[in-house]
């Protein structure tokens, strides 16, 4: 009897665990690591065109990246800086005009998200010269953005640890000491 009281409540757990593996929409990934996540966005915006072909600096739109924790999604007025004049009649650009004129912003689907118990600071990395591509992948080649890396702790820590032995070329001279303290990100 004593054993039964322990086992019975645990049964649903076992059942659920069997089901749970099939639930993930991202194939071949450990659950909750969203590498490869590529949702359809409300506007068919192309990073390949803007960042790749036209060579617009990442920080032109994601200006928060060097100022604070969040890189940010550009406010509509930033789009309008160019698109007031550039291709105003394209059906996709019209969505921007509509948002700007109506005051109802565009609802982008969030791709990169760290859990709430992780504190990541964009400015710390950007101002040290870490390229956007280090974490976000070859974004300048993506027609539709997808999550290029797991963004899991092990992935972060590997980079921080490897720096000493194997620093990326553009950071070689900086002699950084990337932290692997728990408290740096978890507080």
């Amino acid at each position: 009897m004593k054993c039964a009281s322990l086992v019975v409540p645990l049964l649903p757990l076992a059942v659920l665990m069997v089901f749970s593996t099939g639930c993930d929409q991202v194939p071949n990934q450990i659950p909750s690591y969203h590498k490869g996540y590529q949702p359809v966005q409300p506007i068919n915006y192309s990073h390949r065109l803007h960042a790749g072909e036209l060579g617009i600096e990442c920080k032109y739109c994601h200006f928060g990246a060097e100022k604070g924790k969040h890189a940010g999604i550009p406010p509509v007025n930033v789009c309008m800086n160019c698109h007031r004049l550039v291709k105003p009649n394209s059906p996709e650009i019209k969505k921007i005009h509509q948002a700007y004129n109506s005051g109802k912003s565009i609802e982008w689907i969030r791709i990169h998200k760290l859990p709430d118990f992780v504190a990541f600071d964009h400015s710390r990395h950007v101002n040290r010269g870490v390229a956007s591509q280090t974490c976000h992948g070859q974004i300048q080649e993506m027609e539709v953005v997808k999550q290029a890396n797991t963004l899991a702790m092990g992935w972060c820590v590997n980079c921080h640890r490897d720096y000493k032995n194997n620093p990326p070329d553009h950071l070689k001279d900086k002699k950084l000491n990337p932290s692997i303290d728990c408290g740096s990100c978890h507080h």
Binding site: S5, F63, K69, A119, G183
Partner: protein, 1129 residues
């Protein structure tokens, strides 16, 4: 008998409360249980084993479900359409502001993140507060997100819109524009020029209206006394820093009296010792109940409320005689003749370098105090009546208004920012008067006791939601700058007044206009346009005006609403008051375009004849119906109850009683022993008319023939948090001496007394010495107990590293964080505790959880009592085993010492060793890190913590589980986005504000700097501390203030003998030498010898030590950052 003897050869005993002094079995049991009580279910019942397994089962099932379906819900990111220039997501912005209704807080610096206010601190550039704040100021951010605020205007109990409300007000007041019937406006004393002008604009459309200000009764009494003695009804500006000798009669100036933050900041530099400043001011406190101020004093005399008047009069007479005063002073008989003689001697030795104050609301007492200060030449030095605080009402107008309301001579009343139906000794009369009025309008933030009686409620915005201004002391003007649009359908009072005046105008533009007319001409710091001055004032949060007064010229000047009427109650005095040269006051007047004349001030002069008249004013009638005198006091946490609905204040322990969520009837241990009353016995207190029930508590230091009750509790209409906590003691208040009786009801109450939650098992964790000892040897009282704890290498030679079973930490990086806390600088006020709570998203657990000893404060202030020199048994005699009532002598009038206690970030941390999952580990920067997401809640760490500073989330507190029923969705807006919100089952503790360290590292990188210096990062407690007693910084930086402070001979680490090697240092408390104190037995009765060495008067404080004294405030500039800027309308 224990390790203490080694540390303190004198074997001074420190006790956490009477319970420990008596060695109660309950206290002994604390040593066995880390959390005091075993785990309980939500309803308080104990957890059975079977229930436990069931719970485990469901928990696992829940985990399975959430972990299983891994596709997270689709989350949207919605950017601004047009991004405001000053908001960058994730970047903090700082705005200088002020609360126009709480000018005593001084200038404030409010933090907004993503456009949302999340923190309020003192403005470091504000000279009087120096960036310090008090608990109520810190907690005021929570009031913004209070779910019980009025969310829309209401007329006749029905929610309505502003258009309809304005129309209703216009209709209701239409008759008062012409008729002889009078309208009264009741507010607290208003200090801002624009605020006054807005009110004036309203009043000018109602010619028969009058403005009455009601304030805390102490301010009224001081102002009224100065009306007699100096011809101006004003509370002067005190500067305790200039005082070598402080004599306070029941004035709790560090806790609740007038402006405690400023006074703490001024007082403490004179109490800190260093090589450059080897002297201390001497502080005498005569009081009934042990107050926060009494806890810091050197000589403490216990007096009854009824004895204060005679004692002060006797001292006035004695000082008058000693200084050859020609005027007359009333004769007074006091049992304290020896004290009077000794204090007179001391005061005479410190002429011009003293300060004498009183907390009495008796105008005669205050007038006698003025006489003493005048004769000793303290005016113009430590007391400045010319550059004083606002011109208060003197109480006569309020009394007259009450009469007129009762008689019907005034039958319309508009109230703003006052709650006399609760917070007044005349509460009942006010209630009847307001109910009788035909028109009653309240500009209020909630339906409090007063507003709920009114016909019309104009919902008022929080001070962070609307514009306003204030001039806390004359010549120091500040703008109240909003950080956010009103969260609800509320309106700023200035808009409300202007709309009702029929001159609707944008608040900010109106203030700018008034400032251009009335403030700009009074300043000489900015040359150039008004716009330049305005921008600077808005940015700095302060405009320092030259000490010249403004008169608004021309016949257009409207009658000044708060112009003081003749102050005197007798004709002779009134006549003289008129004849005396009145000091022109910078009263605001409406006609903004009127020409302005500047004149130099006529200094207020002492008027002996009127002082004599004032001292002859009879005290309010004493009630005689009882055996005990009642001392009413404000608790430092909840104050007058204005913020009673603020859970952070309710859960902040009172500094002395350490009680949360309740007020108590305090009784001295001796009286309790006689009346057979124990801690928690519910007693019925009655003065014959009013009877209330309260739990009793034994309060050492309280007079044996008095009981004490805190005001500010027992509110009925504060809101869901603050209603019906404790009992309302206002009905006892009469203005005179109150006598009460009490009897036991037989009921036992549970109390949330946080001091006795942990136990240090009598280990002496505080250290102290005397001034003379310290002068002989700066390490006095501070033996090095770590010296023999250093390790050796394999040859047995010292290797310079501490002994440890683990590989010692090297801390050879750039940073090692640490703090030094000067026990001489801690007044115990609790500002740091609330600041820490708000900065770190520490949940309020609620009353019942505190009863289970589950308070979550990361930083607490421990209060210890120890015996006074005159106590019996003598020092060293007492051995924790009470024989009969032996211990009572120790508890008669103990000394008090406060110690802020938080995670000590030990090098050899007990917690890190026992964590099975490495959730708590040491970082190379010396922090004891806590990874919440790793914690599985074994609580081993808390068990193994020597300092009892780890806190466990027994429930989902941030979502309101177990706690009060406030609006948690709204309250969660106050959360700091940079700190993880912890969930159930997780351990937490002080992180030394690691989020601030990390943010500062990013910040200097943006500025192109490599290394953090002093001032780049400050902990929340350091920011809040009004006295600069906490210094935080980098121990690896040889030039840092913290590094210098820890090498001071006074520095020690708590429990260093157990080799935990904390990163927090404390500095030994230095007290005055015991032979400076009066000798003899119980200080309760007269007839014991008091002698003065008179040596103290010779000491003079270095003038320049004012700024240097507190290292804490040096980093102000850097702290401001780039974001601290002006904000457009």
């Amino acid at each position: 008998m224990d390790g203490n003897d080694k540390i303190h050869p004198a074997a001074r005993k420190y006790w956490q409360g009477v319970e420990e002094l008596r060695n109660d079995p309950e206290i002994a049991s604390l040593r066995d249980l880390e959390f005091g009580v075993p785990p309980t279910m939500g309803d308080g019942s104990e957890v059975e084993r079977r229930d436990f397994l069931k719970m485990i089962g469901t928990t696992f099932a829940a985990v399975g479900m959430t972990a299983g379906c891994a596709r997270r819900p689709i989350e949207k990111v919605i950017p601004y359409v047009n991004k405001p220039e000053e908001i960058t997501p994730g970047v903090r912005a700082y705005y200088a502001t002020i609360n126009s209704l709480r000018p005593e807080w001084g200038g404030l610096l409010a933090t907004a993140r993503d456009g949302r206010p999340i923190k309020v601190d003192g403005n470091p550039e504000y000279p009087l507060s120096g960036g310090g704040s008090d608990a109520q100021c810190q907690a005021s951010i929570i009031d913004l997100y209070d779910g019980d605020r009025l969310r829309a205007p209401a007329v006749g109990g029905q929610t309505t819109d502003w258009k309809k409300l304005d129309a209703a007000v216009a209709t209701a007041l239409a008759a008062y524009k012409t008729q002889g019937k009078k309208l009264a406006i009741v507010t607290p004393t208003l200090t801002g020029a624009a605020t006054k002008a807005a009110l004036q604009a309203f009043m000018s459309s109602y010619p028969a209206s009058r403005h009455v200000s009601i304030d805390a009764e102490i301010g009224t009494a001081i102002a009224a006394a100065h009306g007699y003695t100096h011809g101006i009804t004003r509370v002067p500006l005190y500067d305790f820093h200039k005082a070598d000798l402080i004599v306070s009669f029941d004035a709790d100036f560090l806790g609740t009296w007038i402006a405690p933050t400023w006074f703490s900041r001024q007082y403490i530099p004179g109490r800190r010792v260093s090589e450059e400043h080897p002297t201390m001011s001497f502080h005498i406190q005569a009081e009934t109940n042990l107050s926060l101020t009494g806890a810091s004093c050197d000589e403490r005399l216990r007096i009854l409320p009824s004895q204060q008047r005679d004692l002060v009069m006797a001292l006035a007479g004695s000082v008058a005689k000693a200084t050859g005063y020609a005027g007359s002073v009333p004769q007074a008989k006091t049992p304290f003749t020896k004290e009077v003689a000794a204090w007179t001697k001391r005061l005479m030795a410190a002429k011009g370098k003293g300060i004498v104050i009183s907390g009495s609301t008796d105008v005669a007492v205050q007038a006698a105090i003025n006489l003493i200060n005048e004769r000793l030449g303290n005016y113009g030095k430590a007391i400045d009546v010319d550059r004083g605080m606002a011109n208060y009402g003197d109480g006569t107008q309020a009394a007259q208004l009450l009469k007129d309301l009762q008689s019907g001579a005034v039958d319309a009343v508009v109230l703003w920012g006052v709650n006399p139906v609760y917070a007044s000794s005349q509460a009942k009369t006010w209630k009847a008067a307001i109910q009788k009025a035909k028109v009653s309008v309240a500009i209020c933030d909630r339906l409090d006791e007063t507003a709920s009686l009114c016909n019309i409620q104009a919902a008022s915005s929080h001070y962070l939601e609307c514009w306003g201004d204030a001039e806390p002391t004359i010549g120091m003007a500040s703008i109240q700058q909003p950080l956010v649009r009103p969260l609800h359908d509320t309106r700023g009072p200035i808009t409300t007044w202007l709309t009702w005046a029929g001159q609707p105008q944008n608040e900010r533009e109106f203030i700018a206009e008034v400032w251009k007319a009335l403030i700009f001409p009074r300043q000489e710091t900015v040359t150039g346009t008004f716009q330049k001055f305005w921008d600077k004032s808005l940015h700095d949060g302060l405009a320092q005006l030259t000490p010249r007064h403004v008169i608004v010229g021309g016949p257009a000047a409207a009658p000044t609403p708060s112009a003081p009427p003749p102050v005197a109650t007798n004709a002779a005095a009134a006549a003289a008051a008129v004849a005396a040269p009145a000091v022109p006051m910078p009263e605001a007047a409406t006609p903004v375009a009127a020409p302005i004349k500047l004149i130099d001030p006529i200094l207020a002069e002492f008027r002996p004849r009127l002082a004599t008249d004032a001292m002859a004013i009879k005290p309010a009638a004493a009630s005689t119906n009882g055996a005990f005198e009642l001392a009413l006091y404000y608790s430092v946490a909840v104050g007058d109850g204005k913020q009673a609905n603020n859970p952070f204040l309710q859960e902040l322990p009172d500094p002395l009683t350490k009680c949360t969520w309740d007020n108590l009837m305090l009784i001295s241990p001796r009286a309790a022993s006689k009346a057979k009353i124990e801690l928690g016995d519910v007693v019925e207190v009655t003065d014959g008319k009013t009877t209330i029930e309260l739990p009793a508590m034994l309060q050492p230091g309280l007079h044996d023939q008095a009981v004490a009750i805190a005001l500010g509790y027992g509110r009925t209409k504060a809101g869901r948090v603050g209603n019906n906590l404790g009992a309302d003691a206002w009905p006892f208040a009469t203005g005179g001496v109150i006598k009460v009786n009490f009897k036991k009801t037989g009921v036992k109450a549970k109390l949330g007394l946080e001091q006795t939650h942990p136990s240090y098992e009598h280990r002496n964790i505080v250290r102290e010495t005397t001034l003379a000892e310290w002068k002989k040897n700066p390490k006095a009282g501070n033996p090095d107990l770590e010296a023999n704890l250093m390790g050796t290498d394999k040859d047995g030679k010292p290797d310079g590293l501490p002994k440890s079973v683990w590989k010692p930490h090297k801390f050879d990086g750039k940073y090692r964080w640490g703090q030094v806390i000067d026990l001489n600088a801690c007044t115990g006020c609790g500002a740091c505790v609330v600041a820490c709570n708000i900065e770190n998203n520490i949940p309020v657990v609620g009353r019942s959880e505190v009863h289970r000893k589950r308070d979550m404060h990361w930083l607490r202030i421990d209060r210890y009592y120890s015996e006074r020199p005159e106590a019996t048994p003598k020092k060293g005699d007492y051995d924790w085993d009470p024989v009969e009532d032996d211990w009572l002598g120790l508890a008669d009038n103990p000394q008090v010492i406060f110690q802020p206690m938080m995670c000590q970030h030990c090098e050899n941390a007990g917690c890190e060793t026992v964590c099975p999952v490495l959730a708590t580990v040491h970082t190379p920067e010396g922090l004891n890190a806590m990874a919440y997401n790793r914690c599985i809640g074994t609580r081993y760490c808390a068990n193994n913590c020597a300092y009892k500073v780890r806190r466990f989330n027994w429930f989902q507190y941030p979502q309101g589980e177990m706690a009060d029923n406030r609006d948690y969705k709204l309250a969660s807006l106050a959360l700091n986005p940079d700190v993880t919100v912890r969930s159930r089952g997780v351990m937490e503790k002080c992180s030394m504000c690691v989020q601030r360290i990390q943010a500062a590292k990013s910040e200097i990188l943006r500025q192109g700097k490599e290394t953090l210096k002093d001032g780049d990062v400050r902990s929340a407690c350091e920011d809040a501390c009004p006295t600069g007693g906490i210094v935080f910084g980098n121990l690896n930086d040889p030039d840092s203030a913290v590094n210098k402070a820890r090498q001071d001979p006074r520095s020690y680490r708590a429990l260093e003998e157990i080799n935990t090697r904390p990163s927090i240092w404390y500095q030994t408390r230095v007290r005055h030498d015991w032979d400076m104190m009066p000798e003899g037995g119980n200080a309760n009765v007269g007839g014991h010898g008091g002698h003065s060495k008179g040596a103290h008067g010779k000491d003079s404080h270095g003038k320049d030590s004012h700024g240097k004294g507190s290292h804490g405030h040096q980093g102000g500039d850097a702290h401001h950052g780039a974001g601290h800027g002006k904000k457009g309308g």
